[in-house]
């Protein structure tokens, strides 16, 4: 389990940041009211609460869960959101999916599969800096597309640190390469990034549709990124080649030669991916159709595999749940989804969607670069899930008006994932990587050092995504998901929308 370092700031700096946050929040609330997005006072409260959570992720990352708790309390206390509305908006289906996947990743570590991957690469003969970089790029992307991006970056950085520590070279360039490719690879499937499962589920894509639409663009972007990093980091790559040659001449290896059993782990991973890949067909066989069963088998597959793994390894079951599941992150997601749900409940996202469609001429194709740009820039500075959670209802509203707008789901996905590469705080994987780098060697990546390569890669991959979205026929959702407010049940009772006071 990754634990974040707690940074203690001097009091004047904290006060300046709080003042800045308060000013941004007030300005956002006032602006939203002025342009008609939030005409009612309660809508202004919802906007201010959401913006304050965004600001917290930007200025006080370690306090994000605490502020999200308070945010939910403010929304319910002020009647800007009902209790039912909050519970409905927590997206428990996505949370359960992520819990299951995290347990599976924990088991893959425990069974030695991830160790085997690292060991196999370390034991390769005749490796050079260039071949290591190519392997690193594809491994980062592949791993992040089948396990979550945080687990993926932890595994890949273990490889980077082992090689760089052994060769006594600076790991920073290779950490950057790994992170850039992790963010790109995480867009390729529904499993890679919480953003993927969130968008896929909201849009109503099944796994194969998502894969068919996302993986070609992710693959081309990955190849382009590989070319960029091979050029950009040619000096450290060359240095690595020289050190590897010296090491080989002295008959030293990069790691101990150990045979790690991998078959059980490989079987678990392949079984998980295979079942998820055919979830739609299985849902049809089981009769799990209709809006209330949207992607039901996709969501429960990780839970089934995780359950079986915990029966298979009873002595480790508690460890999987307590240490391998990132409860802190999941709790933040739940609270964040709730707070973003209040924007929908207050009609702010609907207003924004109407404004967007009125302002942008040219329909969905013209809106694609706009959504790509907004989500890229937004995700560069706040956690991409925050941005996606807020933007999803806007696109849902647009898609309800015309199915052609469903291309915007893809624009949102690639903007959020690729935009995360732009800055050091753009995605959870970036922050985890920087934390590991600092914890290990007390090395620091300057904001602008990251920004230079981040902007370049972000721009190139963004353009590739735009170009390919323009020429490709992207899969359409199997069915347009009905708005959840019409679905009834214990957590789906139609709740009272706030009555306008005027």
């Amino acid at each position: 389990m990754y634990s974040e370092p707690v940074v203690t700031l001097p009091a004047p700096r904290i006060l300046i940041k709080i003042g800045f946050m308060a000013a941004i929040t007030a300005l956002a609330g006032w602006g939203a009211h002025l342009i008609g997005l939030a005409p009612q006072p309660l809508a202004v409260v919802a906007v201010c609460t959401f913006v304050s959570v965004i600001c917290t992720t930007l200025f006080f990352w370690t306090h994000r869960v605490a502020v999200a708790f308070l945010g939910v309390a403010v929304l319910i206390g002020s009647r800007a959101m009902t209790l039912h509305g909050m519970l409905r908006a927590t997206e428990l289906d996505i949370i359960f999916f992520l819990v299951g996947m995290m347990v599976i990743v924990g088991a893959l570590k425990d069974l030695g599969f991830l160790t085997w991957i690292i060991q196999s690469i370390l034991n390769r003969k005749r490796m050079t800096g260039t071949s290591f970089t190519v392997i690193l790029c594809f491994l980062s992307a592949l791993l992040s597309s089948v396990v979550d991006e945080v687990s993926s970056i932890v595994v890949v950085l273990a490889l980077v640190f082992q090689v760089c520590d052994t060769l006594k070279i600076k790991p920073t360039p290779f950490v950057l390469i790994a992170v850039l490719c992790t963010n790109i690879g995480s867009a390729a499937t529904m499993l890679g990034n919480p953003v993927g499962i969130f968008i896929g589920n909201k849009a109503g894509f099944n796994f194969s549709q998502f894969l068919a639409g996302a993986s070609p663009i992710a693959f081309v972007s990955l190849c382009a990124t590989l070319c960029v990093v091979l050029l950009w980091f040619r000096k450290p790559i060359h240095e690595m080649t020289e050190k590897m040659d010296e090491h080989r001449t002295a008959h030293h290896g990069l790691a101990p030669m150990i045979r790690i059993p991998y078959r059980r782990g490989l079987f678990v991973l392949l079984a998980t991916v295979a079942i998820i890949a055919f979830h739609h067909q299985i849902e049809n066989i089981l009769g799990l159709t209709g809006t209330e069963n949207k992607n039901a088998f996709l969501i429960i597959t990780p839970l089934i595999i995780a359950g079986l793994l915990m029966i298979y390894r009873p002595q480790q079951a508690r460890h999987y749940i307590e240490h391998d599941v990132e409860w802190w992150t999941l709790l933040f997601f739940m609270l964040l989804f709730s707070i973003a749900g209040s924007l929908e409940e207050q009609g702010i996202t609907r207003n924004l969607a109407l404004r967007l469609s009125e302002q942008v001429n040219g329909g969905p194709r013209a809106m694609t670069p706009l959504v790509l740009l907004i989500s890229s820039l937004g995700s560069a500075f706040v956690d991409n899930i925050v941005f996606v959670a807020a933007f999803t209802p806007v696109i849902q509203t647009l898609v309800e008006r015309s199915a052609e707008f469903s291309i915007l789901w893809w624009a949102l996905l690639f903007g959020a994932c690729f935009g995360g590469n732009i800055t050091a705080i753009g995605s959870t994987a970036n922050i985890v990587a920087l934390g590991l780098l600092e914890k290990r060697g007390h090395q620091h990546v300057a904001f602008f050092e990251w920004l230079k390569i981040g902007v370049l890669v972000g721009l190139i991959t963004g353009l590739i995504a735009w170009g390919m979205l323009s020429v490709m026929t992207m899969p359409q959702p199997v069915r347009q998901p009905a708005r959840e407010s019409v679905v009834e049940g214990p957590l789906h009772e139609p709740h009272l929308s706030p009555v306008p006071t005027s």
Binding site: K109, L114, H252, A255, P256
Partner: protein, 311 residues
């Protein structure tokens, strides 16, 4: 009746704990135990102790554990006594000297100290107050030549011995310690861990500045990288394969691979209580005492406990 506050007030003189009545001069031809018994009996006569035998046993128990000869010619036998209202100091001199410890020359000045049990650090404060005569090799011999208790008393009064406000880190540190140089190799380090049977060694640069510590645990981490420990079952590597790489390279690997900068340290004049704070904060069993960046002593957890709870 409430017990008076036994903690010494700031700037308290050592001579406030005794008077000329508590001093015996020219105790000759006595053994250690007889000397201690004589001083205790004398103190009892002056102050009316009612359990001299118990005090005697406590002092001997402490003396048998480790002798209390603190410098050439000076011994400070002492004990912590339950229910004692205030500290008592009895002084004896011997021109011929009294053998106190087998491996030490006879002592000429004996300060017997009785301290309330709940006053940790007072003995160390008294030691600090005596620092000037402890440093002077001729002081004990000179005092033993004084003929009357009044003359001895005047000697201590002239010395202006004042109890320090608090016990500092330097008072409880061990000033002899094992260390490694930053350019030593892993082989030297492993040899040191094994031969000295310790699991943490400070590392100094050529100026004597402390640059970090090496821990036996960190050495294990080098042998077993983190990605191997992801597996709960390590049976695939039962033949210590990861250790072969370290064994092969130990003479060519420098300490920087396992050097840790996160260690417990205090400045020499810091209050001794800060040693406890540092050890807790770093979950460490050793705290390093620095003068600026220079390492001047080590305080182990057992030494800290012994100094504070027992001495």
């Amino acid at each position: 009746m409430s017990k008076p506050d036994p903690s010494p007030k700031p700037g308290l003189s050592l001579t406030s704990f005794f008077s000329a009545d508590d001093i015996l001069t020219h105790l000759e031809q006595l053994t250690r135990n007889d000397c201690i018994r004589r001083i205790l009996t004398h103190l009892s006569d002056v102050h009316g102790f009612n359990d001299t035998d118990a005090y005697y046993d406590a002092i001997l128990e402490r003396e048998d554990a480790t002798h209390t000869v603190v410098a050439n010619g000076i011994a400070i036998p002492h004990a912590r006594i339950m229910d004692l209202q205030r500290p008592y100091v009895g002084i004896a001199t011997s021109e011929q000297g009294i053998p106190f410890a087998e491996d030490e020359p006879p002592v000429h000045l004996i300060l017997l100290v009785l301290i309330p049990r709940d006053q940790p650090g007072l003995y160390l404060q008294i030691l600090r107050a005596l620092a000037s005569i402890l440093r002077d090799r001729t002081a004990a011999k000179a005092v033993s030549r004084l003929r009357t208790p009044d003359e001895v008393m005047r000697f201590f009064e002239r010395g202006g011995m004042v109890l320090p406000d608090f016990v500092c880190a330097a008072d409880i540190m061990e000033d002899t310690f094992i260390s490694l140089r930053d350019n030593d190799n892993l082989k030297t380090c492993i040899d040191c861990f094994i031969s000295q049977q310790i699991n943490e060694i400070p590392v100094l640069d050529r100026d004597g500045d402390m640059v970090g510590v090496v821990r036996a645990g960190a050495l294990l981490k080098v042998c077993l990288p983190e990605y191997l420990l992801w597996m709960s079952d390590l049976s695939p590597i039962v033949n210590f394969e990861p250790f072969t790489t370290v064994l092969r390279n130990e003479q060519h690997s420098c300490l920087s691979d396992i050097l840790l900068q996160n260690f417990a340290s205090v400045q020499m004049k810091a209050p001794a209580i800060s040693v406890a704070g540092e050890m807790i904060r770093h979950n460490a069993s050793r705290c390093y005492v620095l003068n600026g960046k220079k390492l001047i002593g080590v305080i182990t957890l057992s030494r800290f406990l012994s100094k504070i709870f027992r001495e």
